[in-house]
């Protein structure tokens, strides 16, 4: 088991606009193992949602390769087989806009069953009731429409819809950032339960690092369309290497003194994320980096494995350890 379910290689997605080419995703590579939760973090404009949308097929990639369970699916969504589409689903950030307000919950939940020909017409209602039961909603919600539900309940419906086709990969695009913390905990626990039960693979996108710490098995951090650090969760939080990761971690407002102790010593946050139309030369982060050196604004660093499973894109932190790794590869 534990083979790679999803592999993304040198993925690029550029958008041509009147103001220039937006390099939303620029050379992103990662893999996700069956049954794991890969966390994707980054500020707005870092390209994390574009990665998700390109994988699910909402955008066709400009360049690069996406493989799912050994099958190449770099082509646009229209060329993917129905079985392939069935095995990957997405939950969007805002359940207020991702559910059709003019449909009842029953219609919303039975649509994926119809599209993929799961069950017959008579059996569908009981399948939908079963879906509702799994997300702990009562059966009389069948006849409600989305606006009659609270934000948390709507997101449960969106999750039920994603589970309807019995997928292997579920992309969660900030599933709880529009919700209150007391509801967030419940939804996350439920998602973790489904993962265990159905051996789901999650690509979990969020900007909330505290949340990431508790749900992800590995975390990748994106900045200006590139991955800057990728590491197993514990490594990522306890031994962050990239200065950007450290800046992000030290910017999180936390409550407990124990949490305060985990944060890297205060790195003062400076500057703002540059426009992806004019990506700075060299390392994209050099404009804000407190540890910037001479060559940072000229040479672009590559993503290198500095420890087993810990990848970093940085001149400064990559060099001392690369020698050993180079020998291994």
């Amino acid at each position: 088991m534990n083979s790679d379910l999803l592999a993304v290689e040198k993925l690029k997605k550029h958008f041509v606009t009147a103001r220039g080419t937006v390099r939303a995703v620029d050379d992103v590579s990662f893999t996700a193992k069956e049954g794991e939760t890969l966390g994707l973090v980054g500020e707005s404009g870092s390209g994390k949602s574009t990665v998700a949308y390109t994988i699910i097929g909402l955008h066709a990639p400009t360049d690069g390769k996406i493989t799912f369970g050994g099958q190449d699916m770099s082509t646009g969504v229209s060329k993917r087989s129905r079985a392939l589409k069935r095995s990957m689903q997405i939950v969007f950030q805002d359940p207020g806009t991702s559910l059709n307000p003019r449909r009842t919950i029953e219609q919303i939940l039975s649509l994926p069953l119809q599209v993929h020909g799961i069950g017959d017409r008579k059996g569908r209602r009981s399948s939908v009731i079963e879906l509702l039961r799994r997300v702990e909603l009562p059966a009389d919600y069948l006849f409600k429409s989305p606006h009659m539900l609270g934000g948390g309940e709507r997101q449960m419906v969106a999750i039920a819809r994603a589970l309807a086709t019995d997928p292997r990969l579920v992309i969660l695009d900030e599933p709880t950032s529009a919700l209150d913390v007391s509801i967030q905990a419940k939804i996350i626990n439920m998602l973790c339960g489904f993962q265990e039960e159905m051996n789901l693979t999650y690509l979990f996108i969020t900007h909330d690092l505290s949340l990431m710490r508790n749900v992800a098995s590995r975390v990748a951090i994106m900045y200006l369309g590139k991955i800057y650090e990728l590491a197993p969760t514990e490594d990522f939080f306890e031994r962050p290497l990239q200065p950007y990761t450290k800046m992000l971690l030290s910017s999180i407002p936390v409550v407990l003194p124990e949490e305060e102790a985990v944060k890297p010593s205060r790195i003062v946050s400076e500057g703002e994320i540059p426009s992806p139309v004019n990506v700075p030369p060299g390392c994209g982060f050099h404009t804000r980096c407190p540890e910037m050196e001479e060559n940072c604004d000229a040479d672009e660093p590559q993503l290198v494995e500095v420890q087993r499973g810990h990848f970093v894109r940085c001149h400064k932190c990559a060099e001392p350890v690369t020698a050993e790794i180079a020998g291994k590869e």
């Binding site: 500020e43 707005s44 609270g150 934000g151 948390g152 209150d180 913390v181 007391s182 509801i183 967030q184 905990a185 419940k186 996350i188 626990n189 973790c192 900007h207 909330d208 690092l209 505290s210 949340l211 710490r213 508790n214 749900v215 969760t233 514990e234 939080f237 800046m247 992000l248 971690l249 030290s250 910017s251 999180i252 407002p253 936390v254 409550v255 407990l256 124990e258 949490e259 985990v262 944060k263 003062v268 946050s269 400076e270 703002e272 994320i273």
Partner: protein, 329 residues
């Protein structure tokens, strides 16, 4: 002798809607000392913004109606003030920063136009154009915006989210108010930008000894921004204490639930959320409004509203668990 800038006592607000009357605020009690930094925490829909709208006299009426209580700004009753006097307060006495800097700035006027109009409006004596412009540019420099002269002639769309929020802060502080209300000023911003804006706000407030009410749903943010914290649930304040005391020894079951539901940066998996959801304001629960969701609820909780009383020095709680007879309603 006035040692309080703002004193809210038993504030009650109702909204008349088609279905009936929404009893939104149910006895809000709050004190803001001179030069104090007060945090107001609560989840979406608990009445934080409604309370502040009452303070500024900008509650939409109808449908809103203040049905009881008093709000004293220094030694004057805000609720009994004439519109003309209220406008004077809104100009110079109390200012507000809103959550969404996109909606708070007019897109068709330059930053300079909007800033000068605020200064002109709040001026106690006649000022010539040059003086107003000089003050506006100084206000922009004070919030550490790069190149304030250019900012003065920029339109909001030309600025990033963090810069727009800085402009809003400049507008709020340009009139040298005694009390500044910041309503979730960093919720729409990325975490590194949030850290910058919080740092700036703290510096400015300290320098000017302005009293602040900082509204947020994030306990982590409140910990960085306030000396005194009030926790609000379903239209009333359930706990209020000095920051150190509140985070060390939270008492009200809702505060405890809220703290427990936060994902921790130290990991350890997700905690349980608070069961149930925020009550329906048409038919709110009797007695303590938290009782249907409370794990320690007793019979008496549904009977009378618990009094908001001092249980320890600098620590006030509205819960029967901590002694005191329930208040006759």
């Amino acid at each position: 002798m006035v040692d309080h800038v703002l004193r809210i006592r038993d504030l009650q607000v109702e909204f008349k809607v088609y279905e009936g009357r929404l009893k939104v605020l149910n006895g809000v009690n709050m004190d803001v000392g001179l030069g104090a930094r007060v945090g107001l925490v609560g989840e979406a829909g608990c009445g934080k913004t409604t309370t502040m709208r009452c303070v500024l006299g900008i509650l939409q009426s109808p449908p809103g109606k203040i049905t009881g209580g008093t709000i004293r700004f220094r030694d004057r009753d805000v609720l009994k003030m004439s519109q003309a006097n209220l406008q004077k307060i809104r100009g110079g006495g109390i200012s507000m920063i809103f959550q969404d800097p996109v909606a708070a700035l007019n897109p068709v006027f330059t930053v300079g136009d909007q800033l000068t109009s605020v200064i002109r409006y709040a001026a106690t004596k006649r000022m010539d154009k040059k003086e107003i412009k000089r003050r506006a540019i100084k206000a922009l420099a004070d919030v550490q915006l790069p190149d304030p002269d250019r900012m003065f002639t920029s339109y909001p769309v030309q600025l990033s989210g963090g810069m727009r929020q800085r402009v809003c802060i400049a507008m709020a502080l340009a009139t040298e108010p005694e009390l500044m209300i910041a309503d979730e000023p960093t919720t729409a911003l990325d975490v590194t930008i949030q850290a910058q804006v919080l740092r700036l706000l703290n510096e400015l407030v300290e320098e000017r000894a302005t009293s602040v009410i900082f509204i947020t749903h994030s306990l982590g943010v409140v910990k960085e921004m306030a000396d005194w914290v009030y926790v609000m649930y379903a239209g009333s304040i359930v706990e209020g204490a000095k920051k150190e005391i509140l985070f060390e020894r939270p008492m009200h079951p809702y505060t405890l639930g809220l703290m427990g539901a936060l994902p921790k940066l130290t990991g350890g998996g997700m905690a349980e959320g608070i069961p149930g959801r925020i009550p329906d304001y048409l038919n709110p629960p009797t007695g303590c409004r938290f009782n249907p969701r409370c794990t320690q609820a007793m019979e008496v909780c549904a009977g009378n509203r618990p009094e908001f009383r001092e249980v320890d020095p600098d620590h006030r709680v509205a819960c029967v668990l901590y002694g005191g007879e329930a208040d006759e309603q």
